[in-house]
Symmetry: C2
Subunit: 359 residues, 2 copies
């Protein structure tokens, strides 16, 4: 016999298997119908052979525990956030993935060469698969490796800096130097920086630059000092900008729980604002495996009526990003969870140029 402890305020109460079974059927039914579920329907749906009256008693208990809620006296019950929580944590039976679909997914991802592109494709895949919004953060390696730098003179003292990290990620920014440099000087500086720092992690480079600037003050020649000075300008604020790729956000417009104009606007504003979403996704990077925020659990008002199913993804055992799906609280978790899970694994594998994809 399965028992689950549910805390309510200072009380802790035991829920027997039957109540849980009923909660499960209720949530499933509500997810598929979108209508408050009444005792009669529940009586038929569950294979417990209980009369509606009995079920009403159980429902009253569940309501006391804050797991379900009636919109009004004579409506059926709707799961609350805690109800959903209990459901996804303990009751949910995830659906196995269709093999055909799996290979299709894998094929689509593996077909991408450009990793930048791949992120977009993954996001799109999530959106299409789930008919909700897909989101994938750009992969970020804490130990990003500096590879190569190049300086190109622009007008006046402006210099276009191009630098490459992690084999194939290209960044560029414009810096303003204290005095104008000739192309030859810039070339020398680039050569110097490349020879000094290439292959080291960005953090290491940052530290080395500061140290070298202090230590070498007197010893080395002016050209090298200039080079190190420019390097400092470049790497100082080169914390790779956190960003994500969203897809299928328009899918969310169809859902009745987001029909309210203000809600929709708040949500989309959050999408374009980005910072809040990034913070939220950052929290998911720490956790391993699939993580779920239901409704207000996220703590961000814009997501009050949404759920977020995420998973971190890793390249060669290092967590580099997060992907997930955003949809209404009333979503088919049992399908979404495996989708997110497998997409995270496939994306990680596809981003790893050496290894062959697992599974």
């Amino acid at each position: 016999m399965l028992f689950v402890e549910v805390g309510v305020g200072k009380h802790t109460q035991l829920l027997n298997e039957r109540s849980l079974q009923l909660l499960k059927t209720l949530v499933e039914r509500y997810i598929s119908d979108g209508q408050p579920v009444g005792s009669r329907a529940l009586s038929k749906d569950s294979d417990l052979n209980l009369s509606p009256a009995t079920i009403r008693n159980v429902m009253a208990d569940l309501e006391d525990l804050g797991l379900v809620h009636s919109p009004h006296t004579s409506a059926g019950r709707v799961p609350t956030v805690s109800g959903y929580r209990l459901f996804v944590d303990s009751l949910l039976t995830v659906q196995p993935l269709n093999v055909q679909e799996l290979t299709r997914l894998q094929g689509t991802l593996a077909a991408q060469h450009d990793p930048g592109n791949m992120i977009g494709v993954a996001s799109r895949l999530l959106a299409d698969l789930t008919q909700m919004a897909g989101v994938v953060t750009l992969p970020r390696r804490e130990i990003a490796c500096f590879r190569h730098i190049e300086f190109l003179p622009l007008s006046h003292s402006r210099v276009l800096v191009i630098f490459v990290t992690n084999e194939q990620e290209v960044h560029n920014k414009i810096i303003i130097t204290a005095k104008p440099f000739s192309p030859a000087e810039l070339q020398q500086a680039a050569n110097y920086i490349n020879s000094m720092y290439s292959g080291r992690s960005l953090n290491a480079v940052r530290e080395a630059v500061v140290k070298d600037l202090r230590d070498d003050q007197e010893r080395v020649n002016q050209g090298m000092l200039d080079a190190i000075g420019m390097a400092r300008q470049v790497f100082n604020h080169s914390g790779q900008k956190d960003d994500y790729v969203l897809a299928g956000e328009t899918n969310l417009m169809g859902f009745s729980e987001l029909a309210d104009r203000d809600r929709l606007k708040t949500l989309f504003d959050a999408f374009y604002q980005k910072q809040g979403v990034i913070d939220l996704l950052d929290q998911c990077m720490k956790a391993d495996g699939v993580q779920i925020f239901i409704g207000e659990e996220s703590g961000y008002q814009a997501f009050d009526h949404c759920s977020l199913v995420t998973s971190s993804y890793s390249v060669s055992d290092e967590v580099v990003g997060v992907l997930g799906v955003i949809g209404p609280t009333r979503m088919a978790y049992e399908k979404i969870i495996p989708y997110v899970d497998i997409t995270a694994k496939l994306l990680g594998a596809a981003l790893n140029p050496k290894a062959t994809p697992p599974l």
Copy 2:
């Protein structure tokens, strides 16, 4: 006395000044209220001192001409697309710009260093100014100038190509070479390409590459042939991707004419699809000055209930892009038009690094 010819089917009819005056007041009233305008309101609003009954007669004429339309028998009148068209073409009195705001605009734009950034800022400005959606295409110069190229070896035969055009636009792509090259060989190839083609326009480079590949077949050494081959791979498909930056699209969610979920979804889908919008904006590049599409005039279903006010913008007398504002058909054209106009001019000026901004 002002007369305007209006074609209706095979007939052409003259509208006298009074009718036009009334149409003008009607459109203005409707734009500010959003309610169908009745004869009584019109009688008060216009300073023509006409009784509602007379106005009703005029309205009947305007309705026959297809300039206004009643939602139902006992409602007031609403302008049709042709009505709006006549209004913006002949009746509209554009509002002069607030000088204070103008300098603020100019300051914001001029403060941007990175031109990529500037496009986003301009789009945001348009959105904030108009409380609708702003759109700016990335500047595209037909005569993009090739500046510099760099090859970095990746795994196997993959090579990361970084090239710079127009002083400061950085592009990168990954190409797959026929055989692996050593870093030194790649460096040589880059040097060769830079010395051969730097400073020429992309089109010229494309042509030159093809020609050189044919002509030099026997004469030059293998290294140079390899270099030219790679150059061909790079420049072949480097037609700068058309793209635009959108801002404030969520502003559109507030408008009642876009309250319909499907309409909103269609519109947003078009935004993210991009191609349709790009085609539409491309049309605006040909025309000079402010151009307006009202409702179905655009020919794109997604924009059926929207108007688009655009202007091309130029850098040193060459048209390089388009910017504009998207909003409901019922928008305050007399304010939007000068906003779009001035933003286009300021953006063009701000993008020109040499010249001092006019005005």
